[in-house]
């Protein structure tokens, strides 16, 4: 059964291997140059005292290749699910060959189990090796850009879990829908949905975040309506924009910052009523949205007014940063890998159970 699986999978495996070789060649051609630049320029910038300029210049190297490889790691699990997973059973049902396969001296459960294991492992190997190459290639840039959670699902071990899950999802869709093209479409929709749901709802809950309590900094705190997605809905349903003080996120290296909020000692958020009574002239001056470059266009008087205001508010209010420190990166990687591998096992088990009790 393993030999038959391999014989039927051979052409697809060759495509996967070819893609891996191409990525390996690109990485091998450009990676050493990046590492060399890092070692010569970035590693010694502290001694020369010109780190901001050096790192900005360094990050502009291969920036399109960097995002391209990142996108490749993101989409390869989807491609595996759509082109390896969905047609696995659905195409045999459509072509009628399922009647040939399921009447040999091998039970259909074993037939599917061997295919799931062999091609599932191949999927994990392709995604894992691809991620390994890209993670190695991008490591100098990643070290400098200090946002490892920003490229979380394009690096290291989580793509292995995504690939296993996408493959099992594709097979299950094919077994249930029994037609190749609809199964491929369903695989794509379901995979994107699950990935978005885990990224935005489950991943932030995996580990209780840390809080860091900071004094409000008059220099780095701006004024404006917050730019988060929630505000869009607040504007739709709650009337006009709620302008308030906006602390700029502190620079915690490689951390994943959930939020920065202004609260008093009891934990109540700063209300616009308090803000208006503390800084009566602020709303009229309207120094614009938060951020350093925005403040540059504002008159020196308004800027002084804002700084006075922040100092006054800062007497009772503090800035609270909710975040995950860089040291938890690998814990998150392992948790997310476990979630998607677990999902893959459940889907694979379901597909086996379904094939065993359902007609051909």
């Amino acid at each position: 059964m393993i030999r038959l699986t391999w014989r039927q999978f051979r052409a697809q495996a060759a495509v996967g291997l070819g893609a891996l070789v191409a990525v390996a060649i690109i990485s091998a051609l450009t990676g050493p140059h990046l590492a060399h630049l890092y070692n010569t320029a970035v590693a010694s910038c502290g001694a020369h005292g010109d780190c901001p300029a050096v790192t900005t210049a360094f990050l502009s190297n291969d920036s399109s290749l960097r995002s391209g490889l990142g996108i490749l790691v993101l989409v390869v699990p989807g491609i595996i699910g759509i082109f390896w997973g969905a047609p696995l059973v659905a195409r045999e049902i459509e072509a009628g060959t399922i009647a040939l396969a399921w009447t040999q001296s091998v039970t259909r459960t074993r037939w599917l189990a061997v295919k799931l294991v062999v091609i599932g492992l191949a999927s994990m190997a392709v995604a894992g090796l691809l991620s390994l190459a890209v993670s190695w290639w991008g490591s100098p840039l990643d070290r400098v850009s200090m946002s490892q959670f920003g490229s979380f699902d394009q690096r290291d071990i989580v793509p292995i879990g995504y690939a296993a899950f996408a493959f099992a999802l594709g097979v299950t869709a094919g077994v249930l829908i029994r037609r190749t093209l609809p199964a491929m479409a369903a695989t794509l929709v379901a995979l994107v949905t699950v990935r978005l749901a885990v990224t935005s709802w489950i991943r932030p809950l995996l580990i209780v975040p840390l809080h860091r309590d900071l004094a409000l900094s008059p220099v780095s705190t701006g004024y404006g309506s917050s730019g988060s997605g929630l505000t869009f809905f607040a504007m739709l349903f709650g009337g006009g924009p709620q302008a308030t003080l906006q602390p700029s996120p502190p620079s915690i290296p490689d951390a994943w910052i959930y939020s920065t909020r202004i609260v008093d000692k009891a934990g109540h958020a700063l209300t616009s009523r308090v803000l208006n009574s503390d800084c009566p002239g602020l709303a009229a001056g309207r120094p614009g949205p938060a951020g350093g470059h925005a403040r540059a266009h504002v008159s020196a008087g308004a800027q002084q007014g804002l700084q006075d205001c922040v100092a006054k508010v800062g007497a009772t209010y503090r800035e609270v940063v909710t975040y995950q420190p860089a040291s938890r990166y690998w814990a998150f990687q392992w948790y997310e890998l476990a979630i998607f591998l677990g999902g893959a096992l459940i889907l694979g088990g379901f597909a086996l159970w379904w094939v065993r009790r359902r007609p051909a």
Binding site: M1, L4, A95, A99, T103, S105, T107, R110, A360
Partner: protein
């Protein structure tokens, strides 16, 4: 000998439509059985139940004394050629023989190789480029070389031209003579059945109409329909007999004619 196929109260329902209902049938071993009936009568459903591609909604079916597709041993005892004789279009003829060898512990590679050679098939040819007749022969080779005790064929010659049809059925008869397997063969053409079968099962509108050896059926048909025109020979043709059962089934709704005792 025991029954190769034993059905009792067997039924299969799709949604609210019964594709096969209330089927009681016992086919003895050592026969070439023809399963006839119009399109949509439930022939494929009955055969799918027999090879385990479908599960019954009602009743039971036993093949060679076992539950269909209950395990590798049971699967190995039944060779199956599906309707339209499917094959993997991108795999070569030789690949199909490898497939058979990998998946069947009792695979007879000499038999398979000899058949392919005698049929003049190029082992390197992709199955997708074979003619309908060649693909049917390849499917039959796969089913035979696993050395089954029972060979089930679903409309194997329906899409073949007359010459390929004759060659296929001729090859089937040689296999029966050489290996002594029992055969169940479905067709909607009585002429095919007449050429190779010695046992007849008639299925009309999802119901079993009659089952028995052809000789006995013809004799009893004569008793039911009238005096001999030509003493000493069988008066009615098989075609007449089948048509009589079909029209009677249509006229009497779902109640078939009385079943003659057809068991040897």
């Amino acid at each position: 000998m025991s029954a190769v196929l034993e059905a009792s109260g067997l039924g299969k329902r799709y949604g609210r439509r019964w594709a096969l209902s209330d089927c009681d049938l016992s086919i003895p071993a050592g026969q070439v059985v023809g399963l006839v009936g119009p399109n949509g009568a439930g022939k494929t459903t009955l055969l799918h139940l027999a090879v385990g591609l479908l599960q019954p909604t009602a009743g039971t079916v036993a093949v060679l004394g076992g539950r269909p597709a209950s395990g590798p041993a049971q699967l190995g005892r039944v060779g199956y050629v599906a309707q339209d004789t499917p094959a993997y279009s991108t795999l070569s003829v030789a690949d199909h023989l490898h497939l058979g060898a990998w998946l069947n512990p009792r695979w007879d590679s000499h038999l398979a190789g000899r058949r392919i050679e005698r049929l003049g098939l190029d082992p390197r040819q992709q199955a997708g480029k074979l003619s309908g007749g060649q693909r049917a022969q390849l499917a039959l080779t796969l089913a035979i070389a696993k050395r089954p005790e029972l060979l089930i064929l679903d409309e194997p010659v329906a899409s073949l031209d007359p010459l390929a049809r004759r060659e296929f059925l001729q090859g089937l008869l040689e296999v029966v003579a050489e290996h002594g397997v029992s055969v169940v063969l479905s067709s909607h053409l009585v002429a095919d059945i007449e050429r190779v079968c010695d046992y007849l099962v008639v299925l009309v509108a999802s119901r079993l109409q009659v089952a028995g050896t052809i000789a006995e059926l013809l004799a009893s048909h004569h008793r039911l329909t009238g005096p001999r025109r030509d003493p000493g020979s069988l008066p009615a043709s098989l075609e007449d007999l089948v048509l009589a059962y079909m029209s009677r089934a249509a006229g009497a709704g779902h109640h078939g004619p009385p079943r003659p005792e057809g068991r040897p």
